[in-house]
Structures are given as C-alpha cells and as structure tokens.
C-alpha cells in the first residue's frame, strides 16, 4: 500500500523515465568514447550483433574488440558498483536514521578494502576468484558491526558519533592496508593506491563475476526491506510497536550492504560519496519513501559512477584518473553542504 500520496507525486512520474534515459545515454557514451572513439550507432550495431541481429551498420573487428571485450565488462562492473553504492547508501541512511551515513564515510568501504587486501596478501586458497570478495564482505560486515555498536547512544546514532567512528575505523583500516603493502611482497598490494582511490582499470568478465553475483544479491534483496526501513525512521521502539523485528532487520540489511560493498570494493576499490549523492538527489525529487528511494538510488548511483568513469578515462587521456578522485571532487563539497543543512535542521549535533 502507498504511504500516502506525497506532494511531490508529480515529480515522481518523470523520475523513472529520466533515470532510465540517463543510464542508457551514459552507457552508450561509455562504450563509444575513449582513446579510440566508436560512434553510438556502431556501438548499438556491435551489441545487437552479439545478440544475433544485423542492423546493417558496418564495424571493424577492432571496434568490436574494444567495445565488446574491453569497454563492456568495465561498463557493467561500473554500473553495478554504482548501483550498489547508491542503494547501500540509502539503506544505511535509513537504518542509522542518519542523513550522513555513506559506506565510505562510516568506514565500511575501508573495512572491505582491508578484508580484500588480507586475502590477497595471504592468498585466496580454494576460494579462488571469490577470495577477495569474501574477504571484502567479512571486512565490511565487521566494520559495520563495530560502527553500529560504537556510534549508538540510547537507541539512536548521533550524526557526529557515526562520522567520527567512521574516521577512526577508516584510519585504522587504511594504516593496516598500508602496513600489508610493505610487509607482504605482492605485486597487487603494492598498488595500495588502488584501494584508496578506486578504479575500474582491471575490469574483465572473469574478474567481475563475483562482484556481479554478490552485488546482484544485494540489489535484489535490499528493496524487500523498504517498508521496514520507513518504519525505522520513526524510531527504534516505534518500529517495534508497529511489528518490526528490529534486530533482525538490522542484521540482514547490514549483511546485504556488506555483501555488495565488499564485492564492489574488492573489484574496484573505494569510490566515495556516491552513497550520499544518489539517495539525496532522489529524495529531493521523490521524497523519502524507501520503496522509491532504494531502487531509484541504485539507478542514480549507476549513472553517477558511469559518468565519473567516463571522465576518468577521457579527461586526461591517454592517462587514466582514478574514478574515486572524481567522485570525491563532486561529493566532498556536497557532504559539507549536507553537514550544514543537517546541523541547521536537527539542532546542534542531533
């Protein structure tokens, strides 16, 4: 049932078409543009050719290889990571009743990077390509639980507590990753910068598979908690009075978030602020109902990361800029604005 008709219902009608159009446009641009440009019509022809359709537009084998084998896996991974970041950010904000919760800011992404890094340092053993995503999941979930326990005070998480706990946890995790990169002789760990700045450079179909699986589970299951996340915004005991099994919802949502973020970070490193930008943008247009905010934030997050990755590949071509740099450049000022607004609306540091 609808939680009432919001006054923004008129905006809502164009929310979905807009997001879909933006996503398609960003995807075509990502597939076509780069150090080697392929026109949008050719991109469509290449994609349809692999689906067995010939639309009568010619393309070279080289164009086919660039679009299909190089750019498409990267595109799919970037879109998925963006979608997970957007939806996970929205879910965390609801769960913590805190507009500033974001996987990076509260330290979950650093925890995932540490977990994935430890697996890479020790070797994945029988886990194979699933090793670092599972390590990422464990690190992300561990940090989520730590942050949750530390930042809570009398049934709620204060804005400043949550952010400061995240700072402390991130600092420890970053230091541990740095230590690992010195202590262990692993070629991949020596590019520790990778985890701090985020990049899709290494994306391949093979490497993206675990991220697609874990991220897909996160994206498919989180929306089932939308109604209960709405009730949690009333407060913990109020949600319980309305029949929500609060502890269970909390654990399950944190597990799903950690699953998505853990696998995303293991595949692409830390990409910050998408979990803030996407949900807050969606809420401005469509209101705070999680039944809209969760799926729409996933689409918006995918668009944001695709645009950022396009910039990462093309702005300083032929050199690549880490994609996380670009999202931080956009997200940092937004975070400051949000901080101000949150303080103004909810009193000193409520």
């Amino acid at each position: 049932m609808a939680a009432g008709r919001a006054p923004v219902a008129t905006h809502r009608s164009w929310l979905w078409p807009t997001l879909v159009v933006l996503l398609v446009a960003a995807a075509l641009a990502n597939l076509g543009m780069g150090s080697f440009d392929v026109g949008p019509l050719k991109v469509v022809a290449i994609l349809l050719d692999h689906a067995g359709l010939d639309i009568g537009v010619d393309f070279s084998p080289q164009e086919n290889a660039v679009v299909w084998s190089l750019r498409l896996p990267r595109l799919v991974l970037a879109a998925l990571v963006g979608a997970v970041l957007g939806m996970a950010g929205a879910a965390l904000q609801g769960l913590f009743r805190n507009p500033l919760a974001d996987p990076q800011i509260i330290g979950i992404s650093s925890g995932a990077a540490l977990g994935a890094g430890i697996v890479l340092a020790v070797g994945p053993g029988i886990l194979g390509s699933f090793g670092s995503p599972i390590g990422g999941f464990a690190g992300a979930f561990g940090v989520a639980v730590i942050v949750y326990l530390f930042a809570r005070y009398e049934g709620r998480t204060e804005v400043v507590n949550l952010v400061l706990t995240g700072v402390a946890v991130s600092a420890v995790a970053s230091a541990a990753i740095g230590y690992l990169s010195f202590a262990v002789d692993s070629s991949r760990l020596q590019t520790a910068l990778f985890w701090f700045l985020g990049s899709f450079t290494l994306a391949t179909w093979q490497g993206a598979r675990p991220a697609l699986l874990f991220g897909g589970v996160c994206l498919l299951l989180l929306p089932f908690f939308a109604g209960r996340l709405n009730l949690l915004l009333l407060g913990e005991s109020e949600a319980r009075h309305l029949g929500v099994d609060v502890e269970r919802v909390r654990v399950l949502v944190l597990v799903l978030v950690a699953l998505g973020i853990g696998a995303g970070v293991a595949a692409a490193g830390i990409i910050g602020f998408v979990g803030l930008l996407a949900p807050h943008g969606v809420r401005l247009v469509a209101g705070p109902d999680h039944r809209t905010v969760l799926p729409a934030s996933a689409l918006a997050g995918a668009v944001l990361v695709l645009v950022a990755d396009l910039g990462a590949r093309t702005l300083a071509s032929p050199t690549e800029i880490p994609v996380g740099l670009l999202t931080a450049l956009a997200g940092g000022p937004f975070f400051l604005w949000l901080l101000r607004r949150t303080r103004a609306e909810y009193g000193a540091w409520g």
Binding site: M1, A3, P7, N230, G235, S237, E238, D245, V246
Partner: protein, 259 residues
C-alpha cells in the same frame, strides 16, 4: 472492532542496579475503559508504560495480554493487538503527515481481509478524527509539537488495536485539542478498546478516566475511580504540594485545585 482485550500487570517491578523504578505494581487495562496513570515526576509512569508496551522486560512480575505473557508474542503479532504513542516522535526525513499515519497500517498488510482501499479509508478517518486532514500533505518534521502529536495520535488510531497505550498525549496540546484528544480516547473506549494513558493533568484524568492509578516512587499509592483516588490529603502528600479537591461546577467529576 468487536475484539476486547485486557492488558494486565501482576506484581511488576523494574530495577536498574539498586534503583527500583517500579515496585510491585498490579493493574489492568480493560477493554471498554480508560485507565489514567498519574503521579509526580519520576514516579515511574513512563517506565511502567514501557513495561506494559513490551519495550523493557520487568525484573519482577509478569505482564499479560488476555492471559498470555507479552514476551510470547512476535513483534508483528503484538503490533496487531496494541498500539503505543510515545511522548515525542522524531522523524529525520521529510515524510508527509499522511505517510506517517499510513505507517500505522503496516501491521495489517498481511491480513487477507485488508486492502488498499480499506487502508486508505482508515487513514482518512483517523486523520479526520484527530483534526489533521488539513495537515496531510505537510512535511511532518516541519509541523509544530502539538500538530505532530495529533498526527502521531492518528497513526495510533489507524493501527486499530484493541489496546492502546499513550505517554502524555496531551502535554503539547492546547486546551481545545486536549479536550478533543481525551474525548477521542473515550470514544475509542466506548467501542471496546482498552486505553491506558499517562497524564500529567489530574483534571483531565478526573474528567475522562474511568479509573486512575496514582504512582508514587514506583509504587501504587492509590487506585480506583477518580473520585476515590483524587483525595486532597493523599495528593498533597504525594506531590508535596498542598491541594484541594472540589466538585466540578458543571461536570460530574472532581476538580483538583492547587492551594
């Protein structure tokens, strides 16, 4: 509603370390009646309400809903039987007032005989009853304290439970809406609902409650019809403030005056 229920506390106590916040309290909120819980600050009213709501587990005694200990119910099962109005509802995101009231329907979403239209009309009726229809499209956090209380009250009504517990619902309301809210609770009781309400204002209790329980230092100091509980000598002692009780000139109930 039809279904009548009784929420009973038997010899209930609640202590944190050596502090006995509630001691040996026995009372029943019975279907069809308004039970008012009064007492000075720190007498344990809110704690007792939280125990009755199942938010906290008593350290002594037992709380039962129609003979079943309340910790035997699932959260969802209990939510179909009792609704709780907290002292204040803080919502950190811009939900509309109507969306807040609609959340009261959540426990019924899986009822086979519930429907979208039914939810809609119940939400509408609850908002009409609390005089909040004109606020329905306003953003809840932007409403005044009293308006928020009335919207929250509508949410409790929309939950349609045979037991409702309220923690000082009238504290933020003006005189008109205080009387309005208490009449609303009386009307609900008349349909068979058991109402347990914490009140600061003794005269609201005198005018609208069927029974009053006066708490002092976590214990029951007096219980019974308002005319019995509102005893000048007892009140003066309990509140450490000289008081007088007279007959209300127009209503058939006692009127408490501060000397």
């Amino acid at each position: 509603m039809g279904l009548m229920a009784t929420l009973t506390a038997s010899a209930v106590g609640f202590s944190i370390d050596d502090a006995h916040l509630v001691r040996d309290v026995t009372l029943s909120a019975v279907g069809g009646e308004v039970l008012g819980l009064v007492g000075p600050n720190g007498s344990g009213k809110s704690t007792l309400l939280q125990l009755m709501a199942g938010d906290r587990k008593p350290t002594a005694g037992i709380i039962e809903l129609d003979g079943t200990p309340i910790d035997r119910f699932s959260a969802a099962g209990l939510a179909r039987l009792r609704a709780v109005l907290p002292q204040q509802t803080v919502v950190p995101f811009p939900f509309t007032a109507r969306a807040i009231v609609a959340m009261g329907r959540h426990p019924h979403h899986k009822d086979p005989d519930n429907s979208h239209d039914r939810d809609r009309s119940i939400v509408h009726d609850a908002m009409a009853a609390t005089d909040t229809l004109e606020l329905q499209h306003r953003i809840f956090p932007s409403l005044s304290g009293g308006e928020q209380t009335r919207v929250a009250l509508a949410r409790i009504l929309a939950q349609q439970t045979p037991v409702i517990l309220l923690d000082e619902p009238t504290a933020t309301l003006d005189v008109h809406h205080q009387e309005h809210a208490m009449r609303l609770l009386r009307d609900r009781a008349a349909t068979g609902v058991a109402v347990l309400v914490v009140l600061h204002d003794l005269n609201l209790g005198a005018a609208y409650a069927d029974h009053l329980v006066l708490l002092a230092e976590g214990q029951v100091a007096a219980a019974g019809p308002p005319a019995e509980v509102l005893n000048a000598e007892l009140l003066s002692r309990t509140y450490r403030q000289p008081m007088r009780v007279i007959q209300h000139p127009h209503r058939r109930c006692p009127l408490v005056l501060v000397e």
